[in-house]
Symmetry: D2
Subunit: 327 residues, 4 copies
């Protein structure tokens, strides 16, 4: 039976998905995309890195861009609840045989660097610098008026294995896609820590790779406006899918690609999942409305392309490639 | 040279596109679509007809549904500025050799019934019954909260001929699509009387046929909501294209098909065109953003399908079938 | 009987309210307000003047700011339909004994400068320079994303007299406020040329003075956003009334004051009035919902303050000062 | 020092504010308000009670209306994380000397009924019936399209005492108002369990009394629309304050009163507070923007009126009555 009970007493307390590091080939191009077009706020920058946050975020950064030769992803950041949780996490990962280290990470406190069984990089930290909050400085709201990072969505070669691993760490399932038939198999899972639909999601595919990060806006009109802006200011080719409504998660979405192909989902309007008896919602892999309530086909690239993690080999998925369900 | 100066002294004064009659095969099904789903207000009904208006409209109806064996369109309604304009119109059409009559039309005053040179039916009238205005009765706003009819869009076998004809009648060009090259030919035209982008538009294609009527909502969120409603209450297959942004006319749009296949465009946010020196905007037929600013392909049905006018033969177009420009 | 039939054959053809000149005491402060905060586009500027337009406008300017010692208003601009209409207008005003001149006005063609019987300044013109249209350059949409000028609203010492004068010029009544009782008297009138609720409105009060210019946004969310921006970036005291919904005109509104006290209404969502038999809507002066559907009181300043026209004496009104109807 | 550290190891685990019972004098009138006007979904009803939920809620009810002679409030409902938490809660309250009982409550599992030191009623439960979820049945979204209950806001005679009590129970402070001066005293506190600005808030005043329940909508346009609906369908007098923007909590709000005077806040757009090191935001009692960013005065009723809890005596507040800060 693939669906398990939530683990309400995990070995350490993860609070939420917090930030990501993108290796990019041209910081100036990335700046034009994230800052000038999307409206991200710059907290810090030098010639090789750019620290960005959204208007609600108290943390120093939710996106870090670093100049590199290859557009891969060195780190996914998760906040834990205390310094003690960091020690418990370090113990747990070391005990399970995963590599652990505490590298110096600028603008953050102690940071545990480790990975999961497929090599997906995981950074855990408790403290980060907190510059002045911009939430009430409305004149600084630009572009898509993005408020905060919401989640991280990855390809995994084995959804059941990833689901089991992160369930042990306390992530709770909210929605899932299953193949039909007697021995239905998990195709995709949406899991949360912070109380909405997800902090972390996995889809069957060549992995581990990042599918996208999801960032939240207060209104769907913010998403329609950034469509207009992108389409009329040289970013048309960066618009990959949407705007539209997912069946899964209820989200109104737009998927865009940054200049290095890293994918960002702008979305709004999911729902509250804090109740411990919140029942996960099952979707059949055959139901096209799970992906797009309004019946729009998604492009092939959306199903297949993703960002590799720096230095992490990619494996073939356990289940056969997903049938692309067009309307 | 295909583009002409506006005619500011037309033979009679057309005010605006006003209403349409749809022959439908099942009034109950049409009622479920227009009233229960879209939120149209019922002004009058009997077993074989249904009179509908939108929340802002003072007129008795902007859509009339009539039970019939075939789903064709018997009448397109235009309001003229006075009873005298009606007489001038009757004289002008008769003088040009078009059939004219003054049939009794329920809920309207004197109505001139005639047609253009391709047989496209034209009803002109000045007076219509005006029931109580619902604009300020916000509790009656349902579904898509449609405010008013805006325009009528048709296939014509000869865009240049239709453009010339309606220019003579005082319609003014706001935007147009032209084939490229030295002898560019008109592919599509948007023409108005009331001061926004259009009351009447023509596209090259098998015609005359109705492509769609356009109806106006106050907010793009009304259009996103009706997408959710349609997709989750049995009308998914009636959603044909969108939501999206046209380059042409600047409109945020959704195209839907009623149970008989008649097409309705929900749209919002075009612009003011009352200035007599308002320059028409040219689009190249090769520019994919004219149709969809955000790069979405449109389905084949949208390019090819339309509603025939009752008893009017359809001709092949002068120009070759439109290349479907997908992204 | 105070309400008259529309004049469909006016002595010359006014197209719409087009622009305004504001004399201001500090161009830099005005620039911070109109450009940095509201998002107006700068078409031209020198040390003593600033030419502004909104995102949809093809005209060179809809607001002109000029450095002056006093914050008065030298000109209200109306577009006419042709150069011939300008000559007809000049003849009509001269014939009625009004002063007429054709001063050189930068960026405009021939401009007739005259006034009405209370001295309210009137500039008529047909041609204005047309820089590149910005409607589809969405990345330039800033602040309140104002699309276009919509109307001019003035205090007059005699509403009936102003109503009669502008009715003769072809303005058509859409809504009006009347005192109750057997001999109801006009208190306020909304009149249009372009086909929506108004181009020009008059309210009883010390006049002639400008009450406000009205500028149109596509969404009420644009108005909510500019409230947030103004309140958090030093412009709180410039917010005078709203946001709210008028009963009259159905508009969602916000009234703001520029650094010199000139009043601007941001508004959206009125309705179409092109039908020649469009019946004006009467409001009783005792009905508080005409001013604010939601029951909010308006501040005393809104009822009493306005901008004087340069060099034009202000008279006491014919009717007693308006009772301020609070909820 | 009035501000304390959060208690991350409370005696039992409260998940969130969950529901409220309103005693009302006329169920039919309440039904017209909550169901016909606001759009609440009816889960169950008989002649003396009505069970309501919002479109996202999986619980059987978030509002219960009961026929009674007096319009008081018998119960405030909070969800705990498990049946064991219920036992821990019963032990804790009994041990502290509070009355505890486990009455039969329809549609809920075991329910602990107790109160705080001012007699404010508290119902704790873990299980509630879960009818079919309506989140994706968009055709059922009516009126204000309310998605879920968010918080409960009460007057307390002693804010510091209430703050201390609920801090012990694990509620975490997000924002607070303090009197100025050397010995600043807590005037109002906003506290959460579920990870946004609040589940429970207290303001200094005659208490304990309910100030309002807060319910969440996805868009500020839903709130503008319900203003129009209420104002034009007989509920104008039920609109007490707003719409507007709070400084505190960042919420776009509307306060309305039900037919018995119970207050409901419709609101949207607060922010995420799950980080354990999320710093509470201090507001001076002298800062008028804490209450209304845009500078609108609030009516006296909003500062003074509230609903009593059934059978619970009301005490005078420790601090003097709040100065009403008008602009």
């Amino acid at each position: 039976m693939p669906i398990r009970k939530p683990n309400f007493t995990p070995p350490f307390n993860i609070v939420r998905a917090s930030h990501i590091e993108f290796d990019v080939r041209d910081i100036a191009k990335s700046r034009a995309f994230y800052v000038d077009c999307l409206g991200y706020l710059v907290t810090d920058e030098d010639k090789d890195s750019l620290y960005l946050r959204a208007v609600e975020e108290r943390n120093h950064h939710s996106i870090v861009l670093r100049k590199a030769n290859d557009a891969s992803i060195p780190a996914l950041g998760f906040k834990v609840a205390s310094e003690e949780d960091l020690d418990r996490a370090a113990f747990w990962f070391a005990h399970k045989g995963f590599p652990t280290s505490f590298p110096d990470v600028p603008h953050q406190g102690r940071t545990l660097r480790t990975c999961d069984m497929f090599g997906m990089p995981l950074d855990f930290y408790f403290r980060m610098e907190q510059p002045e909050c911009m939430l009430r400085k409305y004149a600084e709201y630009k572009g898509a008026r993005i408020q905060r990072i919401d989640h991280i969505n990855c390809f995994t070669p084995d959804v059941q294995a990833s689901y089991d691993f992160y369930t042990d760490l306390g992530f709770r399932l909210t929605e899932y896609t299953e193949t039909d038939g007697e021995n239905g198999q998990l195709w995709a899972v949406w899991m949360h820590r912070k109380g909405n639909v997800h902090d972390l999601a996995f889809t069957n595919g060549r992995g581990p790779r990042l599918h996208h990060i999801g960032v939240w806006t207060a209104s769907s009109l913010d998403i329609l406006h950034i469509c207009d802006v992108m389409a009329s200011s040289g970013f048309l080719d960066n618009m990959e899918r949407g705007p539209g409504r997912h069946g899964i998660s209820n989200a109104f979405f737009l998927y865009i690609r940054d200049p290095d192909g890293h994918r960002v989902e702008l979305f709004t309007s999911d729902y509250l999942t804090v109740d411990p008896d919140h029942e996960p919602l099952r979707w059949s892999l055959q139901d096209p409305q799970r992906q797009t309530l309004w019946g729009h086909p998604a492009p092939k690239s959306w199903f297949e392309e993703g960002s590799v993690f720096t230095g992490v080999p990619v494996r073939e998925p356990v289940l056969e490639a997903q049938p692309i369900v067009a309307r």
